[in-house]
């Protein structure tokens, strides 16, 4: 039955095709927006979408900065996938069912690079055992290399091999909604806060 619908749809489409139209070439550099200081722009946009960014020289410094965050110190269930940043209370290797991560209060995760124009960080599933960690913890910290900030999404897609990872995402700030009377509320279903550590020597 499904096979016949497949044939039926393809046949109908082939009978309906419009005249051919060229696929535009998307130049790598193009007319795309760039910034004098992509890092500053990234921080500015990240803050406008509810996140916060700290520039630190080393992972040790990132760890020190993390330890000054009250919510981290108060967190009962902590996860970290970045060696040296935060002492986790959960051993991820021992967790097979992602549901067991329901009560994570704070997770420290890592991002590959960030995008200046929209404050987004590219993350993939190969740095975490359970991808739900990007969405389920109450609060997130993300460690990124300070030198890896691209200007725009064209440069971003130029860097990644889409499809190399089963899962990848651009994450820009904490979870949010404006579904009630257009009032912006940070912390919809996912993370209530996103702190970014941009590490210089990483």
């Amino acid at each position: 039955m499904t096979q016949s619908s497949r044939q039926q749809i393809l046949t109908r489409l082939r009978a309906a095709l419009p005249e051919s139209a060229a696929l535009p070439n998307l130049p790598a550099r193009g007319p795309w927006q760039t910034f004098d200081n992509p890092y500053d722009r990234f921080c500015e946009v990240l803050e406008s979408v509810g996140g916060i960014c700290f520039r630190v020289p080393t992972l040790v410094a990132a760890n020190e900065r993390l330890n000054q965050i009250a919510e981290w110190n108060e967190a009962k269930v902590r996860v970290s996938v970045v060696d040296g940043v935060g002492v986790p209370t959960v051993d991820l290797a021992s967790i097979d069912d992602p549901h067991d991560l329901e009560n994570v209060d704070f997770a420290v995760l890592s991002g590959h690079f960030a995008v200046a124009e929209n404050g987004a960080i590219w993350v993939t599933d190969d740095t975490v055992k359970h991808r739900v960690l990007y969405f389920l913890p109450q609060r997130l910290a993300m460690v990124i290399p300070a030198s890896e900030i691209v200007n725009n999404m064209h440069e971003a897609y130029g860097r990644i091999q889409i499809g190399d990872n089963v899962f990848g995402a651009f994450i820009s700030g904490p979870s949010k909604t404006a579904d009630i009377e257009q009032s912006l509320v940070i912390g919809a279903h996912g993370a209530r806060a996103l702190t970014v550590f941009a590490v210089e020597s990483l």
């Binding site: 749809i9 535009p24 739900v132 130029g158 909604t177 009630i180 009377e181």
Partner: protein
């Protein structure tokens, strides 16, 4: 009911109608700020439009390419000719996995297919997890906007709904408090779900993957916990290359809500380890639309909602007055194409101002299509008698110079002397909320002739006066 009849009900509550108008205009202004912050905005729109038109010109090939690449990644691809088949496929997959509880992220396509009632009939509990969609689901209403499903509701309405369904304090209406309450309830639903269903914002032919965009993280929470993910997509959601995503992700959120990008833009390429991923490709009339040179560009729509936010009629009449899964300008094309009989009033819910065309990120010629839709309905003999008669009358009037000028003269005199009830009565729906200006003494033609004469005299006077006595 027709759009004017339902819009009347909406505008009867004047303060609410004005509030609705302002709330959407606020979103339009946010969109403008974001668009003006990208110097190459118009280039992006042009690229997006061309990419979509190219994709449509090779759609069957790209669908096969997508199927091949997705299958190679372990995705199970299904094809559904219509809504009924889509719902049957989804139900069968869920039943094979003994799913009792399904969490769903926003998908206009499943609204189009009326999937929720179908699943409930088969004993499957469905929770819409986008906050706006969940609110309207609890109220047993359809969404009134494709991006802001509960934009027709005031926070007090949401407070009452939550008090009734999830026990928030009576009278509480603070959006922060209500969102927190929803968060706590919905997070329990995510953890208890047996499967997650999402829509698809963009699918990529060359990689066999797809992208889902949300701000709340609800799509990701819904599919990262259970072992089954179903993604439902219209066949028009395809893009040829991964690099095309850059263009569309730059346009989508800026156009939709005035954000630089959605919080989460998730790329799925194959199932999670130990899980299954199914993609259902739906036609449901799309191949019919592709046939039509007049209307096929409506298939380029990326469902950002910008045309609704800017539309003076949508803002002042509310989404429910369209009785259509997709309301507003784009809905007034897509819906009558599918069911012209039931929706013949929609293309007239438009002043042809063209604002929708100006903001559309993929450059759909919306107001031209809305105009073309009127003749499409006329050809199908679906225009009501009053509309046809008034057009016939006007064309008779305007095609003869003598009839036109005579009628104008009669009207100018009559309007001055007729009592109010003779002009403003149910035969003149235009005058329901408006007054005509005072009728001028002379016709435009006479005024223009007088003006020309006056100008000619002025011109000849200085030359004749130049040689006069000093």
């Amino acid at each position: 009911m027709s759009h004017p009849a339902l819009a009347q009900i909406f505008v009867d509550d004047k303060p609410r109608a004005q509030w609705h108008d302002k709330a959407l205009w606020f979103v339009r202004q946010k969109r403008d700020r974001m668009a003006s912050g990208v110097p190459e905005w118009e280039d992006l729109r042009q690229h997006a439009s061309e990419i979509k038109q190219h994709t449509m010109s090779l759609l069957p090939d790209y669908l096969e390419m997508f199927e091949k690449n997705a299958t190679a990644r372990g995705v199970k691809v299904h094809w559904a000719a219509d809504a009924e088949e889509h719902n049957r496929i989804v139900t069968e997959i869920l039943q094979q996995h003994q799913v009792k509880k399904l969490v769903k992220s926003k998908s206009m396509l499943t609204e189009e297919c009326h999937l929720n009632p179908y699943l409930e009939k088969h004993g499957i509990e469905v929770v819409d997890t986008d906050l706006g969609e969940w609110i309207v689901q609890l109220r047993d209403e359809p969404p009134s906007h494709i991006v802001l499903p509960a934009i027709h509701l005031k926070k007090e309405d949401v407070g009452d709904t939550f008090h009734e369904h999830i026990g928030t304090e009576k009278g509480a209406s603070d959006p922060k408090y209500l969102t927190e309450a929803a968060r706590n309830t919905l997070r329990q639903r995510f953890c208890a779900a047996d499967a997650g269903l999402t829509g698809v914002n963009f699918a990529i032919a060359e990689t066999g993957g797809f992208v889902v965009c949300t701000n709340e993280g609800n799509a990701d929470l819904g599919v990262s916990l259970p072992k089954l993910h179903i993604a439902s997509m219209g066949i028009e959601k395809l893009l040829p290359r991964a690099s095309d995503l850059a263009v569309f992700l730059r346009l989508l959120a800026r156009s939709a809500t005035g954000q630089p990008i959605t919080t989460y833009s998730s790329h799925f390429h194959g199932p999670r380890e130990g899980s299954e991923l199914h993609v259902v490709l739906l036609d449901n009339g799309r191949s019919e639309i592709l046939k039509s040179p007049e209307f096929r560009r409506s298939l380029s729509c990326i469902r950002c909602g910008a045309c609704m936010n800017t539309c003076p009629v949508y803002r002042r009449s509310g989404g429910h007055s369209y009785e259509s899964t997709v309301p507003g300008p784009i809905g007034s094309i897509l819906t009558p194409l599918k069911d012209p009989e039931a929706h013949s009033s929609l293309p007239f819910a438009c002043s042809l101002c063209g604002s929708c065309t100006d903001v559309c990120p993929v450059k759909i010629d919306l107001h031209h299509q809305l105009f073309a839709m009127r003749s499409f309905l006329d050809r199908k003999k679906l225009l009501g008698m009053p509309k046809k008669l008034s057009m016939k009358f006007a064309s008779g009037l305007m095609s003869s110079k003598w009839v036109f000028s005579g009628a104008g003269k009669a009207a100018r005199t009559a309007l001055r002397w007729l009592p109010r009830f003779a002009v403003y009565n149910p035969l003149n729906p235009w005058g329901k909320q408006r007054d005509l200006p005072d009728a001028p003494k002379d016709s435009f033609r006479a005024q223009y002739a007088a003006y020309q004469k006056d100008q000619a005299e002025k011109k000849s006077r200085p030359s004749s006066g130049a040689g006069g006595p000093s």
